[in-house]
Every structure is written in structure tokens, then in C-alpha cells.
């Protein structure tokens, strides 16, 4: 049996792999969407924070023997704290200015973070091995799926849904959404907005950090891993439209899959397929797939 001219086994296999990549896109674009949606900052440093998350896990294992499961909690926490610091020290001073300044500032920060890790650890990359419990692979019949990758998909979708729930369905979420539009007023109602904003950025950063930890066993941990990814994730976000948190998650997964299939049919194009889709979507629907028309 064949689907689009490839054996259906390979087809299913590629679909699976697409989902794995999509899971990373989803988590990263989710974090970006949270930070952008709630704080109006295009967080260019998101890729760098992702990288820091992966490095944090690696350092924990390498230097202190902290295992994967602990790193899964501690590394995002560390990145979250770093994020909170960044918000307190830098971003705080930019509220009320053109959001483009936030973009430029975080761009600068990402250069700094990347540079620091580069001088410290070089670029060739550090290996982080898959935790024992998740080692090995399952033969799905149509492919051999490493257990770890299956875990990545499950973990990331769970996290995404949780985040969506908190933002769209809870009172805290309502404060956050309102704070985006008029932080001062929300504060005047009695909500401690400055702390909330710091925590939100921290949480967005922690999401990036978490994605980093999840990615560490899949790819080499290198200082450049974030900057390679961030632009694709930007495109994902533009395609999704930043209109809804859920939109960014769905778009992320979808694009992962599409990109996966491009690798089969026309591998040369796999690096740009996301951008091509972006251009097409923008022409047809300027606000993105899930964005609200302005």
C-alpha cells in the first residue's frame, strides 16, 4: 500500500517523526505566544533560553550528577529565574515604548547568552544521554520509534494544554490577558501586576527551558541550537497568528508534520518549507491561521 507514492509504513513513520518535531515547535511557539500575548514582547531571546535550558540539564548531569528527571524540574526553574531576572533588570524599563524595542533588546540578550556559552563550552556540542527509563525503542511495525521521542510528544502536548487551560480558563489567566492591554489599570484594581509580569516572563522562559531539557537527549547540546531554531519558530508563530494560545500549539504540531513530509518528497526544500507556507498563509489570511482580523 502506498500513500502519495511512498510506502504507507514510511508515511506513518514520517508522520510520527513530524509530530516529534512539531512538539518542540509547539512548546517554543507557545512560550513565545505567552510572552508576546501577555507582555507584548517578541522574545528573540527565546531560542537562547531554550539553549540555556538544555545546557542547564547537561551541566547538572555533568557537574553534579543530577539525573534527567530532576533536571526536568530544576533546569526550567533555573531558566525561569533567569527569565525573571531579565524581566526585572531590562525589559521592565521598556514597557510603554514601542514593542520593537523589546525585540531589539532580547536580540541583544540572545547574542550575549549565546556568546557566553560559546566562549565557555565551544560550539562542537555536548552529548546528553537518554535517561535509562526511556532508553530503547518500540517497534511500531511501521517504524522503530525510540521511546524517548514518544515521551517528548506526550510531555509537550500535556504541558501545552495545561498552559492553555491556565491562560484561557482561570482567573489568573484573565488577569494576565487584561494585563496585556492595560497593566496599570489592572494594577489599580488591586492585582500585583509587576510580580505577575515577572512571573509570566519567567514562566515563558521556563517553557523554553523545558523544551531545551526535552531536546537535550535528542540533539547535541550546543550554544547555537537556539538561534538555528528561533527563526523557524517565529515563522510558526506568524502562521498561527498569535491570536490564540491553542493556535500556536496546533500550528506548531502541524508544521512539524508538514516539514517532515517535505523531507521525504523534496528534502532540499525542508529548510524553507515553513517560510513558504508562511508567505502563502499571509497572502491568503494576513492575520494568520488563528489570528483575529485586526
Amino acid at each position: 500500500m502506498e500513500i502519495f507514492g511512498i510506502p504507507h509504513q514510511a508515511f506513518l513513520g514520517q508522520l510520527m517523526l513530524g509530530l516529534v518535531n512539531g512538539a518542540f515547535y509547539a512548546m517554543l511557539s507557545l512560550g513565545l505566544a505567552v510572552i508576546f500575548g501577555l507582555l507584548d514582547i517578541v522574545n528573540f531571546a527565546h531560542g537562547a533560553l531554550y539553549m540555556v535550558g538544555a545546557f542547564a540539564a547537561w551541566i547538572m548531569l555533568d557537574k553534579w550528577g543530577v539525573n534527567y528527571w530532576w533536571a526536568l524540574v530544576l533546569a526550567p526553574l533555573a531558566v525561569g529565574v533567569l527569565g525573571a531576572l531579565i524581566e526585572r533588570l531590562f525589559l521592565k524599563r521598556l514597557y510603554g515604548l514601542d514593542p520593537l524595542y523589546g525585540l531589539l533588546l532580547t536580540f541583544g540578550l540572545s547574542l550575549i547568552l549565546e556568546g557566553v556559552f560559546r566562549t565557555e563550552y565551544g560550539v562542537s556540542g555536548q552529548a546528553y544521554s537518554v535517561p535509562e527509563q526511556l532508553a530503547g525503542a518500540t517497534n511500531l511495525g511501521f517504524m522503530i520509534l525510540p521511546n524517548y521521542r514518544a515521551w517528548v510528544v506526550v510531555a509537550s502536548i500535556t504541558v501545552c494544554l495545561l498552559t492553555w487551560f491556565v491562560i484561557e480558563r482561570t482567573r489568573l489567566g484573565a488577569y494576565l490577558r487584561a494585563g496585556t492591554e492595560n497593566a496599570k489599570l489592572v494594577q489599580a484594581f488591586g492585582v500585583n501586576v509587576p510580580v505577575m509580569v515577572t512571573l509570566t516572563y519567567g514562566a515563558g522562559a521556563a517553557l523554553a527551558g523545558l523544551a531545551g531539557v526535552l531536546a537535550a537527549p535528542v540533539i547535541q547540546v550546543t550554544p547555537l541550537m537556539g538561534s538555528n531554531l528561533i527563526i523557524v519558530v517565529f515563522a510558526v508563530v506568524v502562521i498561527g497568528g498569535m491570536g490564540s494560545i491553542l493556535g500556536s500549539v496546533i500550528t506548531g504540531l502541524l508544521l512539524g508534520v508538514i516539514e517532515g513530509f517535505t523531507r521525504v518528497f523534496y528534502p532540499e526544500a525542508s529548510a524553507i518549507v515553513v517560510f513558504v507556507i508562511m508567505a502563502i498563509v499571509l497572502v491568503l489570511r494576513p492575520a494568520g491561521l488563528f489570528g483575529k482580523e485586526a
Partner: protein, 235 residues
């Protein structure tokens, strides 16, 4: 401090960035009183309210709310002293539904109005409850902005131009509402261009000009002061 003094402002100065807007405002509002601030466009009435809540830039002087000095407090702490603020520009949130907007402000004290009571007063809001906040009509947004702070149990209400953009019927309803609130012992500061709306409601009036209080008089002295108001407000 006398027990019934709810708000006491002394020598309040406030700035927006470089520009100095309030130049030593002094005023007091007693518990259960309705006080109206009158003045021309740009006299500084909105700024006074914003300064109380902590939304201007730098400010100096003293603002005591139920005896607590609030000049150094961040806005959320001021609100928790029992202050509810209805801003001039309404501040309805686009990403929240009308009902979410209504439910947004956290409770800052006991005795707030119930949802049913509020919907009773503004049936439009009930009808549009699930619409995004800013999709409401101008007037509906105004209603929402007022209704929102009635829920929180705030005892000091700062109402900035609440009759603005409302149909005459609704304005009448608002007037009734303010009387009802006063009867319940709320303390209210009213800023209004619409003098005819504010005149019968207020117990006391302050007149502002160039960021200063220039006159103060009671409801009973209203008639005597009409010519002065004519001069200040062009009423």
C-alpha cells in the same frame, strides 16, 4: 484624624514625565459623602483621581485613605485599601468577554454587589455577556466600567465622567444608582463635565483650575455659587 474622614489629600503634586500637572491639591472626603470635582477640560480632575490610585508619574504630598498614608504605595496596595476606580477612558479589555471584564477586579472588601443585582441594573450587559469587551457599544462599555467596580466591595468609588456617551435614560438610571450607593454608605468622588448630572447628586463641590483647588462649597450653597461656576466652567 476624625473617624469619618475617608480620604484626605494634602499638598498633592503630580507629574506626567516632565510636565507638572497638579500643584498642591488639598481636599477631604468624608465617609458616606458624595463629592464632585468640577473644572474645565485639562484642569486636572482626572489627574487627581489617577494620582490617588497611583497611576500618574511622580507624585508628592500626602494621600491618606482611612488613615493610611498611600502616597508611596503602588496601585494594587491602594486598591486594597478599598478604592475602586472607574477611568475616564473606560478601560474595557478587548481580550476578555463582557462577563470576564465584569468579574475581573479582585474583591477588596466585603459587601460588594452581586452579579444578579448588577445585571438587573444594566440589562444590556447581561445580553452581551459573552461578547468580547470592546465589541460592546460605547455606552455599554461605559456601563460595564462602572458595574465592574461595584462588585469588588470597594467603599471609596472614584468615578470619572461616567455619564459620558450614555443615552439620557441611562444617565438618569446612573443618578438613581449613585443615590442608592450613597444610601448604602459608599463614599464617592465624582468627576463630571455634565454639570446637570453631578449638581443634584453631590454633597460638596470642589472647583479645580490649573491643577489647584480654587473653590469649595456645599450642596446648600450651590445656587449662590452659580455665577462663579459660570465664570469657571461656562455653565
Amino acid at each position: 484624624m476624625p473617624a469619618n474622614e475617608f480620604l484626605r489629600i494634602e499638598n498633592l503634586n503630580a507629574w506626567y514625565g516632565e510636565s507638572h500637572v497638579l500643584h498642591g491639591v488639598n481636599l477631604t472626603v468624608n465617609e458616606g459623602e458624595v463629592v464632585s470635582l468640577l473644572g474645565r477640560n485639562g484642569a486636572g480632575r482626572t489627574t487627581t483621581m489617577r494620582a490617588i490610585v497611583g497611576l500618574t508619574g511622580r507624585r508628592t504630598g500626602s494621600i491618606r485613605i482611612r488613615g493610611t498614608e498611600a502616597i508611596k504605595l503602588p496601585p494594587h496596595k491602594v486598591a486594597r485599601l478599598g478604592v475602586g476606580y472607574c477611568p475616564e477612558e473606560r478601560g474595557i479589555f478587548a481580550s476578555l468577554s463582557a462577563e470576564e471584564n465584569l468579574m475581573l477586579p479582585p474583591t477588596v472588601g466585603p459587601g460588594g454587589m452581586g452579579i444578579a443585582e448588577i445585571y438587573d441594573m444594566f440589562p444590556n450587559l447581561k445580553e452581551r455577556a459573552s461578547s468580547p469587551g470592546t465589541r460592546l457599544s460605547g455606552g455599554e462599555q461605559q456601563m460595564l466600567a462602572v458595574a465592574r467596580i461595584l462588585r469588588t466591595g470597594a467603599r471609596l468609588l472614584l468615578l470619572d465622567e461616567i455619564s459620558e456617551g450614555l443615552a439620557p435614560v441611562i444617565v438618569q438610571k446612573l443618578a438613581d444608582m449613585i443615590r442608592a450607593l450613597k444610601a448604602k454608605g459608599y463614599t464617592i468622588v465624582l468627576v463630571e463635565q455634565n454639570f446637570r448630572f453631578a449638581a443634584p447628586l453631590a454633597d460638596r463641590f470642589y472647583v479645580m483650575e490649573h491643577g489647584k483647588i480654587v473653590r469649595e462649597f456645599e450642596q446648600s450653597q450651590l445656587q449662590d455659587n452659580m455665577s462663579m461656576l459660570q465664570e469657571y466652567l461656562g455653565v
